[in-house]
């Protein structure tokens, strides 16, 4: 086949790969959050339970109905098909998107996602032991999919759209989760952590798959600024904001080369955000309030998303007419 063929990709296909990846990342993120939360609840007293519930709901932009119990809420976030962000809905959407472009990915990828979907979609766990296993299997299935993707798929355009979707979603999800956590941690500018906030800080690290990595880097002594810096600015932690933004930036650069269509606006926004994070002290970043800063990251994510949409997926015909 001629080399031009290898870089040809339908806009619809790129769109589906991008969304498939976003949905899968979202499912995995939600599963991790619920899993962490259920674990922490075991160590908490009544008020803590209440808080972690609200935290979860807030990160889903889900209005908690009064008096809704923890079990009901995690069920809604997991199995409710009327909630488009529930794990099951996300897995179904991810699979549906991949099904529409399954000839574009490797058969191994499709089979893994299909298997993950079939395994998790109709099996509500019956007891608490199974509950943990359930969320763990969602995360494991998603990780397996990523590994399979990286080892079996051409690292061409399609792969970069998958990267793009995963890390745009991760940036957004991390910003939301970190912002929500901080809204429950009023003393985050202190040098040391309040004893009653200990679990909250552990929860924050675990929500970013960062607890073990933190201990390795800083020892098990938790200090607010170190934790904040770790999950926001550590370029080596896969679930830090900077790491995710770096990957988005890389994917955009790669796509610009592969398609001859430069997503200038998206690259500009991501480049600026990346530079700010890379060259700022954590104190400067948090000076105007952690939640505000996280909100601004989210809105920049939305702008990048819109810019990608416009340059690759849904452009006006006139702008692309070949002479």
């Amino acid at each position: 086949m001629n080399p031009r063929n290898q870089t040809t990709m339908l806009s619809r296909v790129a769109d589906s790969l991008y969304w498939m990846s976003r949905y899968l990342e979202r499912a995995e993120h939600t599963a991790r959050l619920i899993d962490v939360d259920l674990q922490l609840q075991l160590d908490q007293f009544e008020p803590g339970t209440e808080r972690s519930l609200r935290l979860l709901a807030a990160s889903h932009s889900y209005a908690t109905p009064e008096g809704e119990g923890s079990a009901t809420l995690s069920r809604t976030l997991t199995f409710d098909r009327t909630n488009p962000s529930s794990i099951v809905s996300c897995l179904a959407s991810a699979r549906e998107n991949l099904r529409q472009v399954r000839e574009q990915c490797s058969s191994e990828m499709w089979e893994q996602l299909n298997r993950l979907y079939l395994k998790t979609v109709d099996t509500e766990p019956s007891d608490s032991l199974n509950v943990h296993r359930y969320y763990w299997s969602v995360q494991e299935g998603a990780h397996l999919f990523q590994g399979i993707t990286d080892t079996t798929m051409l690292h061409g355009q399609g792969w970069h759209y998958i990267q793009l979707g995963r890390y745009v979603e991760r940036t957004d999800a991390l910003a939301t989760a970190i912002g929500t956590h901080f809204s429950f941690l009023p003393h985050y500018l202190n040098q040391t952590i309040e004893p009653e906030e200990y679990l909250e800080w552990v929860g924050l690290l675990k929500s970013c798959s960062a607890f073990e990595a933190y201990c390795k880097t800083y020892t098990a002594e938790l200090r607010p600024m170190r934790v904040a810096e770790f999950v926001l600015l550590n370029a080596e932690l896969p679930h830090s904001v900077l790491f995710a933004i770096d990957r988005v930036h890389e994917a955009l650069q790669a796509l610009a080369q592969l398609t001859d269509r430069r997503p200038d606006e998206a690259i500009r926004i991501m480049g600026r955000l990346r530079a700010t994070l890379a060259y700022s002290h954590i104190e400067e970043i948090l000076a105007n309030g952690a939640t505000n800063y996280m909100d601004s990251i989210r809105s920049q994510c939305a702008q990048v998303h819109a810019a990608i949409q416009q340059i690759y997926f849904d452009y006006p015909v006139e702008s692309a007419m070949i002479a």
Binding site: M1, N2, N5, T7, T8, M9, L10, S11, R12, V13, A14, E96, R99, Q100, V101, R102, E103, Q104, S107, W110, E111, N114, R115, L118, Q157, L255, L258, T259, D260, R261, Y312, F313, V317, A320, M321, I322
Partner: protein
Amino acid sequence: MHSNAKRTRVGRRSPNAHESVQERFLPPFRNYQYGGAYDEMFEAPGRPRAHYQALFRTLLDLPPDQLRKSQQAADLSFLHQGITFTVYSDDRGTERVFPNDLLPRIIPAAEWRKLEKGLTQRITALNLFLDDIYHQGKILADGVVPREMVYSCKHFRREMRGLDVPRGVYVSICGTDLVRLPDGSFAVLEDNLRVPSGVSYMLANRKVLKRVFPQLFHHYGVSPVDHYAQALLATLMTLTPANSRSVHEPTVVLLTPGVFNSAYFEHTFLAQQMGVELVEGRDLLVHDNIVYMRTTAGLRRVDVIYRRVDDDFLDPVCFRPDSNLGVPGLFNAYRAGNVTLANAIGTGVADDKAVYAYVPAIIKYYLDEDPILNNVDTFLLTDKSQRGFVLENLGKMVVKAVGESGGYGMLIGPHSTEEQREEFRRRIESDPRNYIAQPTLSLSRAPCFLEGEVQARHVDLRPYILYGENVSLVPGGLTRVALRAGSLVVNSSQGGGSKDTWVLRA
């Protein structure tokens, strides 16, 4: 035939004698239904035909549980690969596995050679017929096929008049349905000249059977079918339109109606195997009579479209205006010679079930040869005396609507109720051109692995024919199985399944 006569006698014996017939079948064949139809495996009770010997031995020796486990593994692998049908009535989009049967249907080399010759002859003649009726219409002027039969066909496209298609090939992809009659001969039941499907199941079944019976493959020398996708691509590339900018490397795409189509798996599969883009109508656009696809790197010109969308839905400007599946302006681009559609538009007129009755005459007319493969007897209901005969014998007939496929719009006389027969009587009388009738056929039976034992079920055969520079067949095909005991309907939408078809090399 000798064995046939013997079988008829077996059928008429007393119950005791019948028992002794069953006793000649060893487990797992103990409940094998023998008699009343051509049997693919046995020439006499318990005595397999020469080319089934090895399979027969293998089945006798196999631990009973092993096949069952293989079947489960196969089902699971189909489910995981997503080789499924969408069940439309369920809003969650439940998908069902297309049942496959593990026992191969075996066709000796000599028999296949005859089929190959017969099908080549038939597709050649039908292409000449299409070219003729969309140009001078000599066959109509000579009165061989009645003019009104062609012009009243709902798949006849006036828009195609005078249009020259590349190489004069209208039907480049065809899947002909064959049945084996009680005397052992094959006959053509239907020519599918529009958008035949099922070839992916042929390939998927083969993949499964290679895992289940590797040693039998060695023993038999089974002709490979895996190169179908390359052959299809090569065929499509020979049909590059006159005005293409890249004659040597045309851009080929596969046009699908989308993910909700029941054959969607096949579309993705073929696109992937061929290495071409799988497009939907919304991915294409026409500008200045040139077809482009919308890619991330801008617009890209398209030369050949293997379309799996029906004529009616291809172009809302030209055909059905309510179609969202097509591409506005596509027909004009086609007329201008800037893009090739395969199959061409308007091929349905040649697989109309009433025109079917004239195919032997069509072959004689264009090729001056006798048909190698026979038709099934067909009664044209526009003819008064034939209609009278059919209406008197509805209970013994199969009545089909001429433009339908997939087992829809059919009356199967022996399995019908008085009400259904009345209904069809009314319909035939009010629109005789829309129906044909055929005597109820006894399709041949082949062994299937069902409920832990080997049982006999009715089967047909759909080989796939390609026509680009010349006509070629991949040695194999889809054997469809009527999985319900006694049923004669093999369509997947009506409880059918499929099995692998082995064409032997020698």
